[in-house]
Symmetry: C2
Subunit: 324 residues, 2 copies
């Protein structure tokens, strides 16, 4: 939520002169992106987003992220498109940082999505999975089961228990259960891996586009859908809204029907997704000094989601095949 | 440099429906304004800035600031224009805060202004002073000599000396000198009072507009010019660039010639302006906890400017009447 790197008008004008985007009209740092610095740039040809990549995004992954956005856009998915400069590169340097210029998407994310929006997100996620086939770069999921274990080992039971008594043991038990039952036979592809409401823009109730591909990787596609069940279908009080679950799953299957393996694995995948966000939130929570300006998200929100998934018997408990 | 107040898409759409500005297309929090929350809003009619006023801006002063911007724009000054809603108000409420919608100015502030820009700023400042006549609301300058004294008394010599040994005594002596010699016979009007480079937008080397009127008040117009001498004519090493001073003064006088009183008072006014920023920077410096994310400006930058002004014999030392 900050501008980490200030750029000057002359630096930005020089940077833009390498692209075929007209003349600089204005630029404003925008308070978005926890990881990177973003500027909204107006040129004589229209609005653009300029991103400067700060140290938390590994530079080696940038060609994957930018190449993916370009590939997905070419294959019909609505998302920001990285522009290529006069040297043919979609990645350049500004203020000693890797920097990219991408198209600006009108639209905004919905603070209170309704079931009809969940249906649209399900469709969009499936389209992303189909559009991703044929993208030939690879990136493993750093936040899969091995990644969860590393996060857990780094924090340790005792430190996690300072958040809530017994939370460390709960997570340890869940990790052991998931390691034993985690499926390895699911259809894989490119996944978004972070498709929360703030990464989906709508305009006039239609999808305007998906943003923020900086967790994208190769993994089980159904796991991406399980992340969305966590991200879109719980209410403020952490109750599961089965109407939203049904809409999300129906929307997805309208475009890409789930296999039997994927259907069977859904409660396990949903548990894994909840654990993934529980662990990263524990990490952020414990690394934030008291009194910091930006309050981290409460990890326990994901404990509550996890507990729901632990009680789910099968994908019907998420609204699958329920017809109204 | 932050978004203090998050607003939802439905709140912002409802707010905009009171204005004749078309439909909401997107909104992004922008990382500008130390005092307020600003969103860049795109509607079907174009870009706008939405400002939510946080507690540091006194609500009672808002009608003055917004009325002034409207008055100045009507009288030909380029600045953001507050829009009036369907009830005829330029001030409304959003997320429990006073809020205003203003036109968006293309252009950007210059990190390294040249003498030609100082000339343009001088002209613009004089135009502002002329355009301000006829504005019938009044606001005293809270940061005039009495205000400096209050800031000083609140901090105290000992606390100021923690910034630099002897600084408290230096400021005390300067306050006494300025109280004794501060002119009270100068032409008054509406002044901007904070016309630093980041509040002046340029586009293609032409002035695009002045922004941030939240220190504007009624005071000696020549004092506003003295603030600009401090803000525009010193180099990074705090040496005074007399070519810039000459350009600023010439630009100003092209539009509004200075009276003899104003000319005679300029070194004193420049000392006062340096002291004003020295004192507010001391206040910010001493109230910022160590390790804070936003580092305050170094107060001593203004001690160096003040020392230059103390040596100035008359306005010729700022480049006045020097012709190349």
């Amino acid at each position: 939520m900050a501008v980490y790197t200030e750029v000057s008008d002359s630096d930005i004008a020089r940077f833009l002169s390498d692209y075929d985007v007209g003349e600089l009209q204005s630029f404003r740092g925008i308070a978005e992106g926890v990881e990177n610095t973003n500027y909204m740039v107006h040129t004589t040809t229209g609005p653009l987003i300029l991103t400067l990549y700060e140290k938390r995004v590994s530079g080696g992954d940038l060609p994957f992220f930018l190449g993916l956005m370009e590939h997905l856009a070419k294959n019909g998915l609505s998302c920001p498109v990285p522009l290529r400069n006069k040297h043919g590169d979609n990645l350049s340097t500004l203020a000693n940082r890797s920097a990219a210029l991408v198209t600006f998407l009108e639209g905004f994310w919905l603070r209170a999505p309704a079931p009809r929006h969940c249906r649209i997100v399900g469709e969009a996620l499936a389209k992303l999975h189909l559009a991703g086939s044929g993208f030939d770069m690879k990136r493993p999921n750093a936040l899969g089961p091995q990644g969860w274990q590393s996060l857990f080992d780094t924090l340790g039971v005792d430190q996690i228990n300072t958040i809530k008594d017994g939370l460390g043991e709960t997570i340890l038990a869940e990790l052991e259960t998931l390691h034993a039952m985690w499926p390895d036979d699911l259809e894989t592809g490119v996944i978004h891996a972070d498709l929360f409401p703030d990464n989906v823009f709508f305009l006039d109730d239609d999808l305007s586009g998906l943003i923020d591909f900086y967790f994208a990787c190769n993994d089980a596609m159904a796991y991406d859908l399980a992340i969305c069940l966590n991200a879109w279908c719980f209410e403020q009080d952490f109750s599961f809204n089965i109407t939203k679950g049904q809409a999300l799953l129906n929307g997805y299957e309208k475009v890409r029907p789930l296999s039997q393996n994927e259907t069977a694995a859904m409660p396990t995948l949903a548990r894994g997704a909840a654990l993934r966000f529980l662990l990263t939130r524990c990490t952020d929570w414990l690394s934030t000094p008291p009194g910091a300006l930006v309050k981290p998200h409460n990890p326990l929100d994901y404990l509550q989601r996890l507990q729901f998934h632990q009680t789910a018997k099968n994908i019907r408990d998420y609204g699958h095949n329920l017809r109204t």
